[in-house]
């Protein structure tokens, strides 16, 4: 239960950050937090279940998160390069 509680709290914290932050970089950081909630669950579940697969999975997810961050920052940079205000709600040309 403690396992679930801690990781779920971390997940909620991350989601809260995604929803509240307007800065794209801060938003991406919050997503990383959500991913780490999953990682925590992997590692702790690996101990509960007594198999090491969980630890391995956590490492893999870390790598994936890094790749994701690179792509995300690249896209954010390209999109916000020419904008004076950095707010994720601003680019809203595609709508309706």
């Amino acid at each position: 239960m403690l396992v679930l509680g801690t990781s779920a709290a971390l997940l909620a914290l991350g989601s809260g950050g995604v929803l509240l932050r307007r800065n794209p970089v801060a938003m991406l950081m919050s997503v990383e937090l959500m991913l780490n909630a999953g990682n925590l669950l992997f590692v702790l579940a690996a101990r509960v279940r007594g198999v090491v697969d969980g630890q391995a999975a956590a490492l893999i997810v870390l790598v994936v998160a890094a790749a994701e961050a690179v792509v995300g920052l690249g896209l954010a940079l390209a999109l916000f390069r020419d904008r004076s205000r950095v707010d994720v709600d601003d680019p809203a040309e595609v709508r309706g």
């Binding site: 989601s15 995604v18 929803l19 307007r22 938003m27 994720v88 709600d89 680019p91 809203a92 040309e93 595609v94 709508r95 309706g96």
Partner: protein, 564 residues
């Protein structure tokens, strides 16, 4: 010969390709052979040994209860094909002249649509099961849409086409549900009423009701009538072929084809009859209120299709088919002669601007008179005999409804008389020039007029049609025309017609009320589009909102799933 009948649907496809490739001195002339051969094939089959043929490629659509590619060429199909070939041949020839002012590319497109329509309609009547029926069913709907909105630069044509699509969609949905809900192995149009095929929760009533909804949508019955008057936005030859003679009768055809199912569900049969009678009367009243020539005729079609529905509902599928055949002749004749008038007046369709054209357009005048008299049922003409058959059946099945229908013949006389005298008699309202019709416009009226006069004698007195159709249109006995009911109905119609003439042109041309079209359709459409606009506006483009919606969406779905 019977094998050829099965493939009759393919006969117009070469014409479609050739016309598309630009073959022929006159655009569309390459398409002419298709309907001609179709007529010859159907008539030869009917005059010949009449051996029914079937083609069944099982498991074509393995996911359906009956997914065979199943064609059936029998007497009912042949009669329908003969009507289709006859009317479409006349309309093709007529269209060569009627559409001559279009640019060549437009003319080619017009004839390609027509070819596609005829092919789809032929598949529809040759279908052996529901799955194949749907191919034709959707195909004719598509052709109708394309042809209604053929003149895209005119205002309202696309809207009229979309109305037709919307009404058709209601029927298509009912048909789709019917196709998937029948038990495995069912779907053959002739065996839907067997006990094995009725083993669904609603039984015969459910299946029959779904087919009734589909038929009513296609044939503009009851509340689903609204699209047919709007469909008059299309070129007049289309109104004659698709929206009077053939496609709109497909609903009647479907009910006749599955008449055994309807017989197994008596309440639905009564509902069919009541729907038909109500539409027959409502359509007649609505026609009296039209300010537009073609719309007046369109409501007449709605009304006459009501007679056919009533016939099916009375348990007399043969009478319905008989009326379908005669109606195809005289209604196509009425529309094509109306087209001559409209063509001569450069597209003018308002009754207030038409009048006194009797001397200027004698051919159209005579043709319209013959069509009108056949429609009202002047004893001896085709409409009299077929309407008589329906009224006879109603007298035995449901006297109350039959009496209502009997009264409807008076309305028929009134409205067609109003159109006839309004357009051809009285003084000319203005001195606009009149283009004299080319012979190509007038010649097709001749065979149709002959048909309007003599089509009734296919049945009376020798019973040729009923013996040809045999089992395929119920247990058709030769119609006796014994009761005085039908005869008086004809006289009542003629009386109404004469009354219109006596009231004179001025009164007749004056619409009682303008804009009678279903207000509820507009209201529903506005509501629907308003809702759609609001829903689209939710997509604000803001990432923050989207993230919020995604996170909460996931959370809510998770909670619902875990509680379940």
């Amino acid at each position: 010969m019977s094998g050829v009948l099965l493939w009759a649907w393919a006969l117009t496809l070469p014409g479609l390709v050739l016309t598309g490739l630009g073959v022929g001195r006159r655009p569309g002339s390459a398409s002419l052979a298709g309907p001609g051969v179709l007529l010859v094939v159907a008539v030869t089959w009917l005059l010949g040994s009449r051996t029914a043929a079937e083609l069944r490629q099982v498991d074509w659509l393995p996911f359906l209860p009956d997914g065979a590619f199943h064609l059936r060429g029998d007497a009912l199909a042949a009669v329908m094909l003969a009507v289709l070939g006859f009317v479409s041949l006349c309309v093709y020839v007529y269209s060569l002249a009627y559409m001559a002012d279009e640019p060549p590319a437009g003319q080619r497109r017009f004839f390609m649509y027509l070819d596609f329509f005829v092919a789809s309609m032929a598949i529809l009547v040759l279908a052996g099961n529901l799955a194949v029926l749907l191919i034709g069913w959707a195909g004719v709907g598509l052709a109708s849409f394309l042809l209604i909105s053929f003149w895209l630069d005119r205002p309202g044509t696309l809207g009229a086409g979309l109305q037709a699509l919307a009404a058709n969609a209601v029927g298509d949905a009912a048909l789709l549900v019917a196709i998937v809900l029948v038990p495995a192995g069912c779907g053959d149009l002739l065996t839907l009423q067997t006990p094995a095929c009725l083993a669904v929760p609603g039984g015969a009533r459910l299946t029959a009701s779904l087919l009734l909804v589909a038929a009513a949508a296609k044939s503009a019955q009851g509340p689903l009538y609204f699209w047919l008057p709007s469909a008059m936005a299309g070129p007049t030859p289309i109104s004659a072929l698709i929206h009077a003679a053939t496609m709109v009768a497909a609903g009647v055809y479907l009910l006749v084809r599955t008449n055994a199912l309807l017989a197994a569900a008596p309440p639905v049969a009564v509902a069919t009859a009541a729907l038909g009678v109500a539409t027959a009367l409502g359509g007649g009243l609505a026609s009296l209120q039209q300010a537009n020539f073609k719309r007046g005729l369109a409501y007449s079609t709605v009304s006459q299709l009501g007679y056919m529905f009533a016939g099916v509902g009375f348990g007399a599928p043969f009478a319905a088919i008989f009326h379908l055949v005669t109606h195809a002749s005289f209604k196509a004749l009425l529309f094509l002669s109306a087209g001559v008038v409209i063509h001569a007046r450069d597209g003018e369709e308002e009754l207030a601007a038409l009048g006194g054209l009797r001397r200027a357009l004698p051919g159209a005048y005579a043709a319209f008179l013959v069509g009108s008299l056949a429609l009202v049922g002047l004893p001896g003409l085709s409409g009299a005999l077929s309407k008589d058959a329906i009224l006879d059946a109603g007298e035995q099945a449901n006297l109350l409804l039959a009496v209502c229908l009997f009264g409807g013949t008076f309305l028929t006389g009134l409205y067609i008389g109003r159109l006839f005298f309004g357009v051809f008699h009285g003084p000319r309202p203005d001195e606009q020039p009149i283009h004299h019709p080319s012979p190509l416009l007038l010649w097709p009226l001749v065979p149709l007029a002959v048909g309007a006069v003599v089509a009734g004698y296919l049945e009376w007195p020798a019973g040729l049609l009923s013996s040809a159709l045999g089992e395929t249109a119920g247990h058709a006995e030769p119609v006796r025309f014994a009761s005085p009911f039908g005869f008086f109905a004809g006289l009542l119609g003629v009386f109404g017609f004469a009354l219109s003439g006596w009231r004179g042109r001025e009164q007749a041309a004056e619409p009682v009320r303008v804009g009678t079209d279903a207000g509820w359709v507009g209201a529903v459409a506005r509501r629907g589009y308003g809702l759609a606009d609001r829903l689209a506006a939710i997509h604000s483009g803001r990432l923050g909102r989207y993230a919020l919606a995604s996170v909460f969406g996931i959370a809510i779905i998770l909670l619902i799933g875990l509680r379940a």
